[in-house]
């Protein structure tokens, strides 16, 4: 006889676990879920807040920074334009995340459910990537302005073009390494969180080949 048929015979008989009563089940409804969707949700909220703070705190807390920034962007239109741009990007991400969370449904097929979760994770990933690129770019632009316009820096170092070139390279490499490290940290974070999901998703995909 087929092994599974033997198991089938026994399958419905087994009741190892104690049967729960209505009273046991009620409190379960109000407990907190610990699903990966919940975790992803918290991470995305943290992500949004973190990057908004990173980009606004220096401006509002340091007068020096504000005056410097105002000097760099002598034109108010540019500064306003940039602000509008970055806030609309954030708004777009919030909208996409919201839509994508809404589409996660536990009553879909397993494959569809996994795809919706992976899509949500991708949106968070792009948001982080966007922020990292912006941080990198603004640091590099800041460096360029500092070296070419700030008399303090150029006087102290008494810089010639070769020196400026070398310093720039070193700083850019440094920024790139920091950004890469943050990126790796994210990879690890999501990797751990979604390890099982990814494994099962690949297993399902393998079936379709």
């Amino acid at each position: 006889m087929d092994e599974l048929d033997l198991l089938k015979k026994d399958w419905n008989k087994q009741t190892e676990h104690k049967t729960l009563s209505v009273k046991d089940i009620y409190p379960m409804l109000h407990k907190k879920s610990s699903s990966i969707v919940k975790m992803l949700f918290y991470i995305s909220i943290a992500e949004l807040i973190f990057w908004i703070l990173i980009s606004t705190i220096p401006y509002y807390t340091s007068d020096e920074f504000r005056t410097k920034l105002d000097k760099v962007y002598t034109n108010d239109y540019i500064l306003n334009g940039l602000n509008i741009f970055s806030f609309s990007i954030i708004a777009v991400f919030i909208y996409l995340l919201y839509k994508s969370y809404k589409s996660i449904s536990v009553t879909d097929s397993a494959k569809k459910l996994m795809e919706s979760i992976l899509k949500t994770r991708k949106i968070i990933k792009y948001y982080v990537l966007y922020n990292l690129i912006m941080v990198g770019l603004s640091l590099i632009i800041g460096l360029y302005y500092g070296l070419s316009n700030d008399p303090k820096i150029s006087n102290i170092a008494n810089l010639n073009t070769a020196k400026i070139f070398i310093i720039s390279i070193v700083v850019i490499v440094f920024i790139a390494i920091v950004i890469l490290l943050i990126w790796l940290f994210y990879r690890l974070l999501y990797g751990l969180l979604l390890k099982r999901l990814n494994r099962n998703y690949n297993e399902l995909k393998k079936l379709e080949v």
Binding site: D2, E3, L4, L6, L7, K8, D10, W11, Q14, T15, E16, H17, T19, L20, S21, V22, I25, Y26, M28, L29, K31, K32, S33, S34, S35, I36, V37, M39, S105, V106, T107, D108, S109, A110, K111, K112, L113, M114, I117, L193, R196, L197, R199, N200, E203, L204, L207, E208
Partner: protein, 164 residues
């Protein structure tokens, strides 16, 4: 959520709880983990319940939510001890398998099923629950042909685990 909805849900779940217990039995291997997964499946069922429409059978709907929670949403809690229980099964197996009492055979079979991966377990579960390949394919989101092929492979795999 209103009380009436809550009440009808809890009563339905109480009646059909065995389905959830069976999912838990397949995907966990100790008491705490079983309860943990049961809890999570209950939450997911409850959340999805307002959208549950009577045209699907409650039990059928439960299979889907239960399996989806087990293979996709559930994060094993820290309490879940990675049991070593199933290690060395292959060694013991041979001796046990030739013990011809059915009970012993079943024990070995359950252990072998526990060694399968999450997706294979889902297929076995639906098969044991007498679901046809159409329902299996719809629940997992794969084609019927592929569900059938995979099921045959699992049967072979189980044979090899049982008769190394």
């Amino acid at each position: 959520m209103n009380k009436e909805l809550e009440h009808s849900f809890v009563e339905l779940l109480e009646k059909h709880q065995n389905i959830v217990h069976k999912v838990c039995r397949l995907y966990t291997n100790n008491y705490d983990a079983h309860n943990d997964l049961f809890q999570e499946i209950t939450i997911q069922l409850w959340r999805a319940y307002p959208k549950f429409r009577g045209d699907a059978k409650f039990s059928t709907w439960m299979y889907r939510v239960g399996l989806n929670t087990a293979i996709t949403l559930y994060r094993k809690s820290k309490r879940t001890i990675k049991t070593q229980e199933f290690e060395g099964v292959a060694f013991k197996m041979k001796a046990e398998y030739y013990d011809d009492t059915e009970e012993e055979q079943l024990k070995v079979l359950y252990k072998a099923v526990h060694q399968l991966n999450d997706i294979e377990k889902a297929l076995v579960f639906l098969y044991l629950e007498d679901k046809d390949y159409r329902e299996i394919s719809e629940t997992l989101g794969i084609s019927e042909v592929n569900a059938r092929v995979k099921m045959n492979r699992i049967k072979t795999k189980l044979k090899t685990i049982l008769n190394p």
